[in-house]
Symmetry: C2
Subunit: 140 residues, 2 copies
DNA sequence: TTACTTGCAAAAGCTTTGCCTTACT
DNA sequence: AGTAAGGCAAAGCTTTTGCAAGTAA
């Protein structure tokens, strides 16, 4: 019997390990491009295609999460545990937000849905403190 | 004084009116392509670029909402009133879901956020009844 | 040794944009 | 009449993919 449930990740290459490390050592929700640039510091010849391919494998293994806002780039989150986000509409940064959804809301969603719910996603949008401060200092 | 707040929409062309009508007469959350195909039934020479340009204008005027799931196409929603959605992961259809977020959750989000929240988005994912039934009938 | 992975580059898919023409107001 | 908007097609961007070579196991 296999020790893993849905492991698509069959060989641990240097590239894969580094991408995984980058994601698990940050809470900044980087894009594929961000990860690529970071990885190149250690592996100058890594290619963007490899980054995308590995992100896909890590997603299938549920080791990371993909977050997309607007139709632009996807962000990736090394924290695979369900949690919610706050997206700054000025700078695009994505912050974790530490709240839990009430069971009641989930229950009423399940009752109201036109089918079976398996997961959900909750995001908040606004302006982050860093951008608010910047705006304030510009006003002076 | 102008009668509108943020009107980017300055001329009501036939194209614009038809796109608006299509969106307001459906709850099916069509993609730009869907809208284009539908509009062509009435305006055979309308172009996809025009559809995108008008959707952008309608978005800026807050007359419609844009919904994107995964990194594929965007869906558009003629209902600009805040509400939530249920997305079928089998067929991609998007359903409205009739629930309200508890004020308490919004409050705790505002308290926990790294900035000022202006809006939020809540989606549920799963398999819709239509797809569940199809799967069931295939099993027979 | 096998076949999963990589690099590179081309292709794909959705959306935007430039340019010139059309037509709303 | 003036200029926003349309049509067409090319360009732009992010992501995917084909292929030959490399490499983990």
């Amino acid at each position: 019997m296999s020790k893993s449930k849905s492991n698509k990740c069959q060989r641990m290459t240097l590239q894969r390990r580094i991408i995984q490390e980058i994601l698990h050592n940050t809470t900044s929700h980087p894009t594929a491009e961000n990860i690529y640039l970071e990885a190149r510091k250690k592996l100058p010849y890594i290619s963007l295609g490899t980054v995308y391919r590995n992100l896909k494998v890590l997603l299938q293994d549920n080791k990371i999460q993909e977050l997309n806002y607007g139709k632009g780039v996807s962000h990736f989150d090394g924290n695979y545990f369900p949690h919610y986000h706050f997206v700054c509409q000025a700078c695009g940064r994505v912050y974790d937000i530490d709240i839990t959804m009430q069971q009641g809301l989930l229950e009423s969603a399940k009752a109201a849905a036109m089918g079976e719910i398996t997961s959900h996603r909750l995001e908040f949008y606004g302006i982050c403190n860093a951008c608010l401060m910047e705006k304030q200092s510009q006003a002076n």
